[in-house]
Amino acid sequence: MATPTEFRLPRYGEDPEGTHPPLDSSGYRSTALRHPKQDLVLLPQMLTEVTGPLLGPGRLGEHDNDLTRQHAGEPQGQRIIVTGRLLDGDGRPVRDSLVEIWQANAGGRYRHTGDRWPSPLDPNFDGVGRTLTDSDGRYTFTTIKPGAYPWKNHDNAWRPAHIHFSVFGSAFTQRLVTQMYFPDDPLFSQDPIFNSIPDEKARQRMVSRYDHDITQAEWALGFQFDIVLRGRDASVFEEEEDDDE
């Protein structure tokens, strides 16, 4: 295959120190045997890294962005609208991009065989949603506020209410899985997963904001949650002259 002599590829800047949790976070016990101990090797951003899957409408069903309408009956709990924009670090909207969520029901129970917390399953709630961002990078889900639930990480351990988010951006470098939390949750202080992010300001970027304009009268409370991925700056990928000798 002919190799082009020159093309420009975007470069995605590294995330600032303290943005992401250290893989070895001793407070969260499950990291102990699952974090690499060897140094990570720098991977230069080449074609495979600056491209990525663009997953479109074929992945969506009719009620995938309304988790309260996926069954004949209504789920239990407080109906909420969660909306926000998917942006890159330069403030550009990431358009037509797949956003996936999964969460516990109002009682803090996941529809998963491994979840033994004896809070009832809700026959009308799966806790799974998908949507695409619009031309402004905006996504919207209607769902139920998830409950807190206990886990066995430490004595009297409870996860704060959260919704898992999965986003792709437009490059392999931008792939992100995160959790959205709710404002002023009293359980933050004892949660090692939330607190695995070293920087307080970075932690706050995982907390949604109550928004009365999104709240709908006699229907649902509204929360805003913007998700920011790495920015891209164009740079010369390959010059005309070959200098690999």
Binding site: T5, L23, G91, V177, A202
Partner: protein, 184 residues
């Protein structure tokens, strides 16, 4: 342009399999595609125990070395080729991805990269994904610029071994034979 700070990563937790897998997720190419093969492997922790709550995602070039993406100026792959695969691990820590051999991909300064697949690994207990690459033992990997940056004694962890129906690529998150993971 406004400078915005990125949203932090968090673990997928133990229940990722309610939200992320798709029935056709492991199929980078549809079943029956000429030349298609399975990449299978086991994901293990620092004790060597299989991890039943992990997920593998793959991203790769088509057989001509092209990407179905606007930032690849050489045109796009055909409609059947998704380039992307996603497979949760089973109770025994195994995964499988049905794909085809990626082509040679341009590197920097006129160099080329050996056929490779980028891999993300997610799991309970992993607060951020870890990233690795799959190379193939029966391909010419000698001049690959990324493999060259990996200490020689660890390169083997990036090379998939030939099997009856494709290749085997095991992933070890920690400990003996720890897989090489990359920083992006």
């Amino acid at each position: 342009m406004t400078e915005l700070l990125p949203t932090p990563s968090q673990t997928v937790g133990p229940y990722l399999s309610i939200g992320l897998p798709w029935p056709d997720g492991p199929h980078v190419v549809p079943e029956g595609t000429p030349g298609a093969f399975w990449i299978r492997g086991t994901v293990r922790d620092g004790n060597g125990d299989p991890i039943p709550d992990a997920m593998i995602e793959t991203w790769q070039a088509d057989p001509d070395g092209g990407f179905r993406h606007p930032d690849d100026p050489r045109g796009t792959a055909d409609g059947e080729f998704r380039g992307f695969g996603r497979c949760p691990t089973e109770a025994d820590g195994t995964y499988g991805i049905l794909t085809v051999l990626p082509g040679v991909v341009p590197g920097e300064g006129g160099a080329t990269q050996a056929p490779h697949i980028d891999v993300s690994v997610f799991a309970r207990g992993l607060l951020n994904r870890v990233v690795t690459r799959i190379y193939f033992e029966d391909q010419d990997n000698a001049a690959d610029p990324v493999l060259a940056t990996v200490p020689e004694e660890r390169r083997g962890t990036l090379i998939a071994a030939k099997t009856g129906d494709g290749y085997r690529f095991d992933i070890r998150l920690q400990g003996d034979g720890e897989t090489v993971f990359f920083r992006l």
